[in-house]
């Protein structure tokens, strides 16, 4: 595992790349990204000129203090939010700017290409564990296709959960699970549609150290197995140390 800090004097691409030459098209990249939130009349700049480039199959940890813009950057990479139109550079996925994506394409991108893992799990409390896991598949299909692929979807969700040690919890509700179990369900959900980019926002932040490490083991093992690209936002140095590369964010910039 190699660590490459992002103290690039040019202020542009904050990384050296592990898996691909510097000239190759990055798998996902943010260039000079600006993001400002508005609270009434007050503008709160969160990112101002952040750069990030991630190669395919790479695991990058984004480190930074609270309020540094880590989660915002993750949301922008995942197409959940859009950068400031006037001042921001592009966010690209496989060389194509997300700004060019139609609304439908962006929805499809989030559904098929991206898997989000959140700090607070964000499982749907009314659904069972297996239903929570398979819901990204349901979002991406109509009734007809669901009827046709119902068994395959069910089997895949059950298989993922079994691999995460939750095979006996399929019919349980999230409220009946421990924190670690919930996060494993959330990871299974993120992987349900076999995305090639997994964005994890403090995935261990709400767990004790032992459970957190176990969760990280799961994520990294899956990355190795499925060749997924993994971006993990964390403020934990030990967690970041297990990534291929670490990027530091401070005051809305990669430093």
């Amino acid at each position: 595992m190699t660590h490459a800090d992002s103290s690039n004097p040019t202020g542009h691409l904050a990384t050296a790349h592990l898996a691909s030459p510097a000239t190759a098209t990055p798998f996902v990249a943010a260039t000079n990204v600006h993001k400002t939130y508005r609270l009434g009349r007050v503008s709160v700049p969160v990112l101002h000129g952040a750069d990030l480039s991630v190669s395919k199959g790479e695991c990058v940890a984004i480190l930074g203090a609270s309020g540094s813009g880590k989660s915002t950057l993750l949301h922008l990479l995942g197409g959940l939010d859009r950068p400031d139109a006037a001042t921001s550079g592009p966010i690209t996925y496989k060389g194509r700017s997300l700004a060019e994506f139609s609304t439908h394409e962006l929805d499809r991108y989030r559904n098929r290409s991206v898997g989000f893992v959140f700090q607070f799990f964000h499982l749907l409390p009314e659904l069972t564990v297996i239903q929570n896991t398979m819901i990204p598949a349901l979002v991406g299909m109509g009734r007809l296709r669901y009827t046709r692929e119902r068994k395959a979807i069910n089997d895949r969700a059950a298989d993922l959960l079994t691999r995460f040690g939750l095979g006996h919890r399929l019919k349980h509700r999230p409220a009946e699970l421990s924190g670690g179990e919930r996060q494993r369900v959330a990871i299974a959900r993120a992987l349900m549609n076999q995305p090639d980019l997994v964005l994890a926002d403090e995935p261990t932040g709400n767990l004790d150290q032992k459970t957190g490490e176990a969760i990280l083991d799961v994520l990294l093992a899956l990355r190795d197995e499925m060749q997924q690209t993994l971006v993990i936002v964390t403020h934990s140095q030990p967690i970041a140390a297990r990534a291929d590369r670490t990027v530091r964010l401070a005051d809305g910039k990669v430093v």
């Binding site: 915002t72 949301h75 995942g78 959940l80 939010d81 609304t103 439908h104 929805d107 499809r108 991108y109 989030r110 559904n111 098929r112 989000f116 959140f118 964000h122 499982l123 749907l124 009314e126 659904l127 239903q131 819901i135 990204p136 349901l138 979002v139 991406g140 299909m141 109509g142 009734r143 296709r145 669901y146 959900r189």
Partner: protein, 505 residues
């Protein structure tokens, strides 16, 4: 596809959707019960009115219509006419066995002809029954009593013939048939049958008094006559049941001076004395100048199957015109055209029907406005639910759900609640309407509240049928209301910023 799963889960895991569905159900039931009762009342009125009046009435209130047999022949020969019968309508006083005296609408009829036009014989109440009414669970209807069977059969035959043995003889005399609620002797029971409380009217006699008018519109006398009661009728229309009395038309013609008679010279004055050649003084006898034909006030006409009352009305007008042309001596009232009308245009009836239609529309509008409460309630509940589920919306957006998909999730949810609520409301209203008479009686007995006063609403029973078309409309509107109520929260959910939604606490 996820919408179906989440709708199902949201529906059964929260109490709030239940409240929404209850609100929709109550509003649906309220509107449907109202519409069923008021609309049913109107339909019942229309059906009863037709059965009592026929399809078209030709009225000649100006001293009676002579030569009516000629008009009857024309009518009965016409292809549009099933039957036609003459009647005389007059106000009268009745003296009841209880000593009570009241004004009644006395109608002279030809029983067979009247039955052909109105189906009157079916309304005769006292007759032996083989099976109890569906509502008479305890078989308490005295018409089922084997001991009264012969008595009731006699009353039934008497009611059809308008003949009964007199009070002081065994000879059959002309009899009267009165409305079942006229004498106040019958009580309506919970089983929807009549219970003669203190006397059986079909064994009693009444006295009828009328005031005949001369051709010069002068009240010439007060005529009264005692009639044995042959039977009672129950048409279901309270006005008729409580204030109509029927006697044979010939008898009423006699009482009102409308029978065939000698026509006296108008210049003749009673009391003039004639002196004969031998000096004998004798009263001058009436100078007969001809024969005055028998008269009636109305002809009731029933249309053949497939002929509408309006078509029959037009046909009657044409025939009446021919009839008038053949009898130039008949003085036509200025408004004679209005003397031919379909039963629902009958003076008094038309105004009443119009008023009921307006009242029904008004009540529906009012309840429709009240139903907006349901829309607002669904809106408020959905708004709260969307707020509660903000994080879910953020999660769904994060995993690729579109705005349209999120909006459809909540609209579908509203639709489901609407369907559940409106169908439940439909079922509730069906149960209430079907049992509205027992419920009404129970309220009356328990709380002393009489909502449905038959003297106001004409019928002694509240209409208890739900029209399927109306039910479909009300249920459809109920579902639509729920969807409209869910629309704004659905759009709100769809336009939630997913990042803010995920951070929502």
């Amino acid at each position: 596809m996820y919408q179906a799963l989440l709708t199902r889960r949201y529906l059964f895991s929260k109490i709030m959707p239940l409240f929404s569905a209850i609100a929709v159900a109550l509003c649906t039931a309220m509107v449907l019960v109202t519409w069923s009762v008021m609309g049913g009342f109107l339909n019942q009125f229309i059906a009863s009115g037709r059965s009592l009046i026929g399809d078209v009435a030709i009225a000649w209130p100006h001293g009676g219509l002579p030569y009516y047999q000629d008009l009857l022949v024309k009518l009965r020969d016409d292809d549009a006419v099933e039957a036609a019968t003459p009647t005389i309508e007059s106000l009268a006083m009745i003296s009841l066995p209880s000593g009570q005296r009241k004004a009644v609408e006395l109608i002279g009829i030809d029983p067979e002809g009247f039955n052909k036009v109105t189906g009157f014989f079916d309304t005769l109440y006292w007759k032996p029954l083989d099976q109890p009414l569906p509502s008479d669970h305890e078989r308490r209807d005295i018409r089922l009593d084997p001991e009264l069977r012969d008595d009731l059969a006699a009353a039934h035959a008497a009611g059809m013939a308008f003949k009964r043995t007199g009070e002081d003889s065994t000879e059959e005399v002309d009899a009267i048939v009165i409305g079942a609620m006229l004498a106040g002797a019958n009580q309506m029971t919970r089983g929807r049958f009549l219970d003669p409380a203190f006397e059986r009217m079909w064994n009693e006699s009444v006295t009828i008094g009328v005031v005949p008018f001369s051709t010069r519109n002068v009240a010439v006398d007060f005529k009264y006559r005692r009639f044995p009661v042959a039977n009672e009728f129950r048409a279901g229309m309270y006005q008729a049941d409580a204030s109509w009395a029927l006697i044979p038309i010939g008898v009423l013609q006699q009482m009102l001076g409308m029978q065939e008679s000698r026509e006296i010279d108008p210049a003749w004055r009673p009391g003039r004395i004639l002196l004969s050649a031998d000096g004998t003084a004798t009263p001058e006898p009436p100078r007969v100048i001809g024969t005055s034909p028998a008269k009636i006030t109305h002809i009731l006409v029933r249309a053949k199957d497939g002929i509408t009352p309006e078509e029959l009305e037009a046909r009657c007008e044409a025939l009446f015109e021919e009839f008038i042309a053949e009898h130039p001596s008949l003085h036509l009232p200025d408004s004679w055209r209005r003397a031919i009308y379909t039963w629902d245009k009958k003076p008094g009836v038309a105004n009443f029907i119009g008023a009921v239609k307006k009242e029904t529309a008004l009540v529906l509008v009012l309840f429709g406005i009240i139903s907006l409460v349901a829309v607002m309630l669904v809106l408020a509940i959905f708004w709260a639910m969307v707020s509660e589920k903000t994080k879910d919306v953020g999660v769904l957006r994060a995993i690729g759900a579109s705005r349209g998909g999120i909006a459809w999730l909540w609209l579908r949810y509203g639709l489901t609640i609407g369907i559940v609520g409106a169908i439940a409301g439909g079922i509730l209203s069906f149960i209430v309407v079907r049992n509205i008479n027992p419920i009404h009686e129970w309220i009356g007995e328990s709380l002393g509240i009489v909502v449905w006063d038959p003297s106001v609403y004409y019928f002694s029973e509240i209409p208890n049928k739900v029209d399927p078309t109306r039910a479909a409309i009300v249920i459809g509107v109920g579902i639509l209301s729920s969807v409209i109520g869910a629309l704004i929260p659905a759009l709100r959910a769809a336009w939630l910023d997913p990042v803010k939604a995920l951070r929502f606490e």
